[in-house]
């Protein structure tokens, strides 16, 4: 709770800074502030408590994920320092929106009441619509914004309908009560339908097939930093929320529901990976990659009792790799019109460090050992096999193989092609973010227990 309040306070502070003409200080102060919030969050980790009539329930799960969100936000804010340098008058707005977005995200994982959940998801979504469309002179950005907005609102409608049906069945929005009731009596069929609809809405948010169509278009059109945010923070928030939703409401996962999850997971992985193979635009490629990762993350829903740690680990690994990759993309495509692979030609020669970081990030996403991505997949597979879905794991494995194809396309472009332009300038912040993100990723790979055991009961 304190975390949430502090974050909101920080967002307001950002707006105040604009008023007092302290623009230069916004980014550093926000980062410092977020670090402080991170500390606050950590202090709440071992003090689970419910606040304000169960509106906010702080648990290990929520504080751990909040911590991850805060870290990701720190990276994204730091990257914004460079990204928005040409729009000084808007920087406070951008930063503030991101901080509020973080607030929405934290609310989403620590909700104790479906109202909080819904408001959280709307804060997040609306902030994302704005960020996606934020490059107002670019038609691509506008298009991305509109597409995301239309489809997102549609999905919100579905979620709302779902919540409504849950309410209709239970007569309350409080998850604890819902959980208790769901266990006891015979329920009207509204409840499972409501759960299904909410889940579908969340599937949209994490871009799972067949609700994924928005993702590539929006990722491509949105400004690169927003894409970074969507592919890392937003996706992670959505899957964490979905996981929490399903576990906390104690929705009895019926066999049919498991089948649905399995099919969607398989479809997401397969479609995402196959579609990514022929992409030229790196952001678009990562969008499809994100879709396939969504498929992987959904696998955690099959073993709801003990997969929280796994999910945290997977999302951390994925998001950190994503941050590292996007830092490099931001650097490379800063002055280019698009984010095509051609821009990466010869990066291995012109900037070996960033090339190495991008390589590492892609390897992590591909699930090559020592990077956290490998352990994430491994633990996930272990759990899924334990849950008895070996066919799903085999599909996942085949997909991992396909995914190598496009990740390596980018790596090959960096190392085997001749550079077509000279790159100058060493933006320290981008370097720092990229290095820290990838180091964290590798550290997670070396000591997976640090995160995996965090949520062990």
């Amino acid at each position: 709770m304190n975390t949430l309040i502090a974050i909101i306070g920080l967002g307001v502070l950002c707006l105040l800074f604009e008023i007092f003409e302290l623009r230069k200080a916004i980014v550093p102060v926000t980062i410092l502030g977020l670090l402080a919030v991170l500390g606050l969050d950590a202090s709440e980790f071992n003090a689970p408590e419910a606040y304000y009539n169960n509106m906010i329930i702080v648990t290990k799960f929520s504080s751990a994920f909040s911590g991850l969100f805060i870290i990701l936000t720190i990276f994204l804010v730091a990257l914004g320092h460079k990204f928005y340098e040409n729009q000084p008058s808007k920087i406070s707005d951008f930063i503030a929106i991101k901080v509020f977005l973080l607030a929405g995200a934290v609310a989403m994982v620590s909700f104790g009441n479906l109202a909080m959940f819904f408001l959280g998801i709307e804060v997040l979504s609306i902030a994302l619509y704005i960020l996606a469309a934020s490059s107002r002179l670019s038609l691509k950005s506008n298009e991305a914004g509109l597409k995301y907005f239309l489809m997102g609102s549609f999905a919100s409608g579905i979620i709302l309908f779902g919540i409504c049906l849950i309410y209709g069945a239970m007569g309350t929005f409080d998850v604890t009560e819902i959980s208790e009731m769901s266990r006891s009596a015979e329920l009207p069929v509204w409840f499972p339908i409501g759960i299904a609809l909410v889940t579908i809405g969340m599937f949209f948010k994490i871009a799972a097939v067949p609700f994924h169509f928005w993702a590539p278009d929006v990722y491509e059109g949105a400004p690169a930093l927003t894409t970074a945010l969507m592919s890392t923070l937003a996706k992670v928030v959505a899957i964490a929320t979905l996981y929490k939703l399903i576990t906390v409401m104690n929705a009895e996962i019926s066999e049919g529901f498991q089948h649905v999850i399995v099919i969607i997971s398989m479809a997401s992985m397969t479609v995402g990976n196959i579609m990514a193979l022929r992409q030229v635009n790196v952001k678009r490629m990562l969008a499809f990659s994100g879709i396939s990762h969504a498929g992987f993350m959904i696998m955690t829903l099959l073993s709801t009792t003990n997969a929280a740690g796994t999910l945290l680990y997977y999302t951390s690994a994925y998001a950190l790799a994503g941050i590292a990759a996007f830092s490099v993309i931001l650097y490379v495509c800063k002055n280019t019109e698009n984010e095509d692979v051609t821009n990466f030609h010869g990066l291995g020669k012109t900037n070996p460090l960033l090339a190495a970081i991008l390589t590492a990030a892609l390897l992590s996403m591909a699930g090559i050992p020592i990077f956290a991505g490998f352990f994430a997949k491994m633990v996930l597979f272990t759990q899924t096999i334990q849950a008895g879905f070996i066919a799903l794991v085999i599909v996942a494995v085949i997909n991992s193989i396909i995914s190598v194809g496009y990740y390596f396309k980018l790596i090959l472009a960096m190392y085997t092609k001749e550079p077509n332009e000279t790159r100058t300038g060493t933006p320290v912040v981008i370097y720092a973010v990229a290095v820290v993100a990838i180091v964290l990723n590798i550290a997670l790979g070396m000591f997976p227990s640090l995160v995996l055991d965090l949520l062990a009961s």
């Binding site: 020592i370 272990t382 096999i385």
Partner: protein, 479 residues
């Protein structure tokens, strides 16, 4: 003192090499390579004295993974092979200029690190990690420092990477399944499992896919020739000299003891596949126009025989396979170095452009000849010891296996001598061919000396590996 030391040396070496810069890189790498070799010899000494040099520490709690390195005779032998070949391979590269040398040598040491790890790991997941880890450096080595047309090379290398990765991922699934059953990735726990026949079959096949691609056993070999041709000499040596042996080692260490019922049940099929590889590889090698490709197919034939030996599940088969693995490691490194020496002078790998070299470079010709002979397993070379033992074990299963597998000594002689004739003999070549330099000669002599020494006196290695192989046989026969 325990075996993790050698891993640390190699890893530190890789970083040190990178830091040392392009000029010093090769020397620093060689230093660390030799240091690792020294370390492994010292460790061997400790091992022989009966000290415990294994290493075990908890790593991941949930799922239960430990950082467990176990040094038994088999592992030590493979580690020694790696540790001995690494400095030799680094040394052979001294005659070739490599741009961005620091990265190049660092990758070599890193690869060595990963391979040593694979040989030592006693925890399934740790083993898998090292196994995968070794793929990355060779990928970059082949990709960046390789020769030939860049597009072709890219195609070959990516195919190789994806193909091998594909195989090993199924192994990962198998490991996870085993974990699920045993509650641990530790090899001793996996050895204790009593799986049903069906389970064993699937596990066996999953492992087989990984190993068949890595080794390679036909028909999973299609990546091999192209990658060998395109990779730089060092890469080819690492691949053929050590990396193939990872697959064979793993068959002995993991596949057979974990799924013995399946291994016994389908033994004949897998032996037959190995032997088919012998014949097929030899026949395909006959018409190769590229020296490195020819050597690749010869390698296919040899490892086919080794694989057949491992699948006999007899102590002779395993022992012969291990001996032959080590012998083949040295010979193939020597032969690829020979092709590199020719490449340095003629800048070609095409056999048709060679010929008549012997008159210009008698020393080189002799050493090449010896390597050719070793490769065709002439008695007194190390390869004979291995090949004899393997063929003997095959004859114990079925004489026809021995006869068909034995065709390697005929066909092998045919294509190797044909190649030697086309490359070295005939009218003096119009292009000048400088005889081997001191460095080149030294490396070759070293390899040759080792081959002869162990060819005449394989006892140290046999004694080293036999107890652990007997243990493995015991595990295989536990049910």
């Amino acid at each position: 003192m325990n075996v993790s030391l050698i891993l640390i040396i190699l890893l530190v070496g890789a970083f040190a090499t990178y830091i040392a810069g392009d000029k010093l890189a090769s020397k620093v790498a060689l230093f660390f390579g030799i240091a690792a070799l020294g370390c492994s010899v010292v460790l061997l000494n400790h091992f022989n004295l009966g000290e415990n040099i294994s290493f075990l520490s908890q790593w991941i709690n949930q799922p239960h993974v430990s950082f467990s390195l176990n040094a038994d005779g088999l592992s030590m032998a493979m580690v020694l092979l790696t540790a001995a070949l690494t400095p030799i391979i680094i040394f052979t590269s001294f005659g070739t200029e490599h741009k961005n040398a620091k990265a190049f040598y660092a990758l070599i040491l890193f690869m060595s690190f990963a391979m040593v790890g694979t040989f030592l790991a006693a925890d399934g997941l740790l083993y898998y990690i090292f196994w995968e880890l070794s793929l990355i450096p060779i990928y970059f080595i082949a990709l960046i420092w390789g020769n030939g047309d860049a597009e072709e090379r890219k195609k070959a290398v990516v195919k190789f990477f994806i193909y091998t990765l594909a195989g090993s991922l199924f192994m990962l699934v198998a490991f996870i399944y085993l974990y699920q059953k045993a509650g641990s990735f530790l090899i001793e726990d996996l050895y204790k499992l009593n799986l049903s026949a069906t389970e064993q079959l699937w596990i066996f096949l999953a492992f087989f896919l990984a190993y068949a691609i890595k080794i390679p056993i036909i028909p999973f070999h299609t990546w091999q020739a192209n990658v060998y041709q395109k990779a730089p000499a060092v890469g080819t040596m690492l691949l053929s000299g050590i990396m193939l042996k990872m697959g064979l080692y793993s068959v002995i260490r993991w596949q057979l003891p974990i799924a013995p019922l399946a291994a016994k049940e389908y033994m004949n099929i897998f032996i037959a596949l190995g032997i088919a590889g012998v014949i097929y590889g030899s026949i395909v090698a006959l018409r190769q126009k590229d020296l490195k490709k020819l050597l690749a197919y010869s390698s296919l034939a040899h490892v086919g025989l080794i694989a057949a030996g491992t699948y006999t599940l007899t102590i002779d088969g395993l022992r012969g396979a291990v001996l032959q693995m080590i012998a083949h490691g040295f010979v193939v490194v020597g032969l690829f170095f020979v092709s590199e020496i020719i490449y340095r002078r003629y800048a070609t790998g095409t056999i048709a452009e060679m010929g008549g070299i012997r008159t210009q470079s008698p020393k080189f010709a002799s050493m090449f000849m010896i390597l050719v002979l070793a490769s065709v397993a002439l008695p007194t070379t190390f390869n004979f010891v291995g090949e004899f033992t393997v063929l003997y074990s095959l004859s114990q299963i079925n004489v026809w296996f021995a006869i068909l597998g034995g065709t390697t000594i005929i066909l092998g002689a045919y294509y190797m001598l044909k190649m030697y004739q086309q490359v070295m003999l005939g009218e003096t070549n119009t292009k000048a061919f400088a005889d081997v330099s001191l460095n080149e000669g030294l490396a070759l002599v070293l390899i040759i000396a080792l081959l002869f020494f162990f060819g005449l006196y394989p006892k140290p290695i046999t004694d080293l590996i036999t107890p652990s192989l007997e243990n493995i046989i015991k595990v295989i026969n536990r049910a």
